[in-house]
């Protein structure tokens, strides 16, 4: 996919297929991961993210397909013959070994001398911000600290690939936020190719260089966080990432679609006139009166506020839009806009839809 002279991929996955008995967990997965990038596998529970990660790790064997790491076919290699470090949701720290021994676990086996190992362990503990915890046992550390140690242990042998399976989901919200940033920084600094599995879209969007959105054992879309959010390739992706309005519409040609008695202009030309479609619009894909006279803009609408959800720094208003035949729309207002534009139940609000943002999918 890289053209004539392909960039050496850190990892290539070719037509991976996995079934458990008659249940198909993964179907024809193709994926190339570039050196040094952080890729997130994102998808709902049970979509096969973990299975794919475990196949890459050699902990699960694929039913068909190949795994190629740094140009070497490791499809059938046992885990120990592959080159990666892994961190699990459960930390999996050895409870009876000290933090130091945990981090040194993979080093000791390589018959390095004691001083070199100690130096390396100290370096790693410093790297994850816990330089003085070496003599303690895992049970004496907090969840976030344990996860940092698990990360240090995985990085100790300087693997070329780091695999993280929901590393943050056992932590509380604050700790999760903090560690999110730390992992990202560390990964950038070490330039280690990283795959992280998560079902938390915020996590994926904030950390990843590229996001692989999965559903029902298949890849729905691969792209940068902005791409998958702004230009979802499938209704599933649009629905799964963030909030979205889905409007029933009919194609009237020229990238225009009729919703109820109104016509909406979009940048999407793919449909034939008369096709029944769905328009996907995020609550923030609108222009409000505070940035100009919206009545004269294309796709100008007006509606009555039926409900306002206050969500901290912003509000989501449910609008009964004129001419939409009762299809309600969620529209995003910042707190200031809410106040300035007088958004409250029963109020009338004018807004315009951004034509370039409207995604159109067949109904």
């Amino acid at each position: 996919m890289e053209g004539t002279q392909p960039v050496a991929d850190a990892l290539r996955i070719e037509s991976i297929h996995k079934s458990f008995g008659s249940f198909v967990a993964l179907k024809s997965i193709d994926l190339a991961i570039h050196p040094g990038e952080l890729v997130c596998f994102l998808g709902p529970s049970g979509c096969g993210k973990t299975t794919l990660l475990r196949i890459i790790a050699g902990l699960e064997s694929q039913t068909a397909g190949r795994v190629i790491q740094n140009g070497r076919d490791v499809s059938n290699a046992p885990p120990a013959a592959r080159d990666y470090g892994i961190v699990f949701q459960s930390y999996a720290l050895f409870p009876n070994l000290t933090i130091k021994d945990n981090v040194a676990y993979g080093l000791v086996n390589r018959r390095r001398d004691r001083a070199a190992i100690d130096a390396r362990v100290a370096e790693l503990l410093k790297l994850v911000g816990l330089p003085t915890e070496g003599p303690k046992y895992p049970g004496q550390l907090s969840g976030g600290q344990q996860q940092r140690i698990a990360l240090a242990r995985a990085l100790a042998t300087a693997p070329s690939l780091l695999l993280l399976d929901e590393p943050l989901s056992a932590l509380d919200a604050k700790e999760r936020d903090r560690l999110r940033g730390e992992i990202r920084q560390l990964q950038r600094r070490l330039k280690v190719t990283t795959i992280m599995v998560t079902h938390d879209q915020e996590e994926a969007l904030s950390m990843a260089d590229r996001v692989v959105v999965m559903n029902h054992g298949a890849i729905e879309q691969i792209g940068t966080p902005l791409e998958v959010y702004e230009r979802p390739a499938t209704p599933f992706v649009a629905d799964f990432l963030g909030k979205v309005n889905v409007l029933k519409a009919t194609c009237v040609g020229g990238g225009r679609y009729r919703v109820g008695s109104r016509e909406i202009a979009t940048g999407a030309n793919g449909m034939a006139t008369g096709d029944a479609v769905r328009l996907y619009l995020r609550p923030e894909d609108r222009i409000l009166a505070d940035s100009g006279p919206v009545e004269t803009m294309p796709n100008a609408q007006s509606g009555i506020v039926r409900n306002v959800d206050f969500l901290g720094t912003y509000c989501l208003a449910s609008l009964d839009v004129d001419g939409f035949d009762g299809q309600r729309m969620l529209v995003y207002f910042s707190l200031n806009q809410t106040l300035e534009l007088g958004v409250r139940e029963g109020a009338r609000v004018a807004f315009a839809l951004r034509p370039e943002r409207v995604r159109v999918f067949a109904a």
Partner: protein
């Protein structure tokens, strides 16, 4: 990344070789476990099955042996007796055990740990000990013989003595199951009932009993199976009350009639298998009850109830200690009940006279081997089963075989062993008549519970330890010795103790397999009793209880020391 040492891969060729070796060790170990279980469990049972459809000469005769045995008057009498014995024992033991467990889990009586431990004491004794004690108390020379008519009995020999002795032996097993079952309770159900002003009795009937029903069924099944396959108790106190277990013994040892012995063995297998599957089904359901998140019930003081239950618990504990105490006392007096002066003769001349002076030492040897090898094999087997990868088709076979011994009465296993290992064409027949076969049969006989203990301990460990090790290129056996074993050591000690105590007290399988040189203490009790040396029989029983008791206390001490030494990491250790 820049490190003080770049972790370059080890030389490829040697690395690959090491990996191949590791995979072989992982898979080979599992296959080895499967083969061992097959040779020492499944094959002997198959031999039993085959023998049941052969005549004396080994020719196929279909169901002729069954027809012959079913037609004999001995069968209908023994089958009926066995059923009566097992049912009466079950109906006596389970309610008593339930009340006892209820007092511990659901009342506010004091010193619960003490009652709990006293209830478990019979596990340390061979079932024969109770039979001897009841003979001392109510037998022909019994001091309390006079009370028998109060209960409408003329003699303790036969069914009454068998039921009492069996109840003593089975009681701790039922109590353990019911304690576990009654510990699962949802306080919210009781609170809801209280808010509706429900009477205590109604709460008991509508909440407590239904909540414990699986435990009750499970306990009943365990007691029933124990009674059906019990050999020692009917032998010592059963008099003419014939049961299937005795029939087997007579057929096989008395008349060398292996084919009828095999037939009786298969008949014994039926109730045991039924009980096994009922119990299994029930346990699965109990687990489903357990998984619901519930608030544990904490009993509130209720003076009348607590006093009544305390009286009951005291009475039961006193009775159990009296049974043990009676045998111990009897072993130290010259002639019960006429000359109560102290003597050690039963322990010295008594053993010599009956030619069983080596029995105790043999039992110690065997129990030590069982504790050592048994714990090792069982734990390693469970580890291979649960934590290694590859050779997945073998796993269900191992799992099934590991649970099978629970459904196999010891007598049945014993006959299977004779038939399989005493077969002239079997190259393994060198073990026949040795200590080795006693150790092996005992390990197999008590494999299931030990296996379950090991599996439970292993399941508490994070499943990803092995994955992490593999990713760090540390071979699985290193993680096994550095992490798995140290973390599971308390459970391994439990398994060891379980094997030791059972090896000391068991009779049923080994009674077919011992030779004069390998006579065991528990078996010698039967022999001493038959020779009329009841004092020496009691002495041997006392030695067994004392040894099991000391070893149990020792193992607790070791575990306590271990826990204290490792509490640095055990206290808040994350397990999952």
């Amino acid at each position: 990344m820049s490190g003080t040492l770049a972790a370059g891969p080890a030389p490829v060729a040697s690395r690959r070789l090491a990996l191949a070796g590791e995979a072989l060790a992982a898979r080979g170990g599992l296959v080895l476990v499967a083969v061992a279980l097959f040779v020492f469990l499944t094959a002997p049972l198959a031999a039993l099955l085959i023998r049941a459809i052969q005549d004396k000469g080994g020719a196929y005769v279909g169901l002729a042996n069954f027809v012959q045995y079913f037609a004999s008057p001995a069968f209908s009498r023994s089958a009926g007796n066995t059923l009566t014995f097992a049912l009466v024992t079950t109906f006596l033991t389970v309610p008593l055990a339930f009340a006892f467990a209820y007092a511990i889990q659901r009342s506010c009586i004091r010193a619960k740990w003490l009652w709990r431990n006293i209830a478990l004491v019979p596990i340390l004794a061979p079932s024969l000990l109770a039979a001897l004690s009841f003979i001392y108390l109510f037998g022909n020379q019994g001091v309390l013989k006079g009370v028998l008519p109060w209960f409408g009995l003329t003699t303790i020999y036969g069914l009454p003595g068998m039921v009492l002795s069996m109840t003593f032996s089975a009681f701790p097993h039922a109590v353990m199951i019911l304690l576990a079952s009654l510990s699962l309770s949802d306080a919210r159900l009781y609170e809801a009932a209280d808010s509706l002003a429900t009477s205590e009795w109604r709460k008991f009937v509508t909440i407590t009993l239904p909540g414990a029903r699986y435990g009750i069924i499970s306990a009943a099944m365990v007691v029933f199976t124990m009674a059906v396959s019990e050999f020692g108790v009917p032998k010592v106190i059963g008099a003419n009350y014939s049961v299937l277990a005795i029939d087997i013994y007579k057929q096989v040892i008395g008349q060398q009639n292996f084919q009828i012995g095999a037939v009786v063995g298969l008949i014994l297998l039926v109730p045991a298998l039924v009980a096994f599957f009922v119990d299994h089904a029930v346990r699965v359901r109990q687990k489903a009850l357990l998984s619901a998140r519930s608030v544990p019930y904490v009993p509130k003081p209720a003076p009348v109830r607590d006093r009544l239950l305390l009286a009951f618990v005291l009475l039961m504990s006193a009775a159990m200690l009296a049974v043990i105490g009676m045998a111990v006392f009897g072993s130290f007096v010259k002639v019960w009940p006429y000359n109560l002066s102290f003597t050690l003769n039963h322990y010295t001349y008594g053993f010599e006279e009956a030619g069983v002076e080596n029995a105790y030492r043999n039992s110690l040897t065997m129990a030590a081997w069982c504790a050592l090898i048994g714990a090792l094999l069982t734990f390693a087997g469970a580890y291979w089963l649960e934590k290694t990868r590859g050779a997945d088709f073998v796993r269900p076979i191992v799992r099934l075989q590991a649970m099978l011994p629970m459904a196999i009465p010891g007598l049945v296993l014993g006959i299977g062993y004779i038939l399989f290992f005493n077969h002239p064409a079997n190259p393994l027949n060198v073990v026949y008549g040795t200590m080795g076969i006693l150790v092996l049969s005992t390990i197999v006989h008590f494999y299931s519970s030990s296996h379950l203990t090991a599996v439970t301990a292993l399941k508490q460990l994070d499943n990803e330890f092995e994955s992490v090790s593999a990713s760090l290129k540390v071979p699985f056996y290193k993680t096994f010795s550095r992490v798995t074993v140290p973390v599971c050591l308390p459970s391994i000690i439990d398994i060891s103790r379980y094997y030791f105590v059972n090896a000391m007290t068991t009779i049923s399988a080994v009674v077919f397999l011992y030779s004069p040189k390998t006579m065991l203490a528990a078996i010698s009790i039967v022999q001493l009793d038959e020779a009329g040396a009841i004092g020496s029989a009691a002495a041997m029983a006392t030695l067994i209880v004392a040894t099991s008791g000391v070893v149990t206390l020792l193992s607790f001490a070791v575990e306590g020391w271990l826990l204290r030494r490792t509490q640095g990491w055990r206290r808040a250790a994350p397990t999952r």
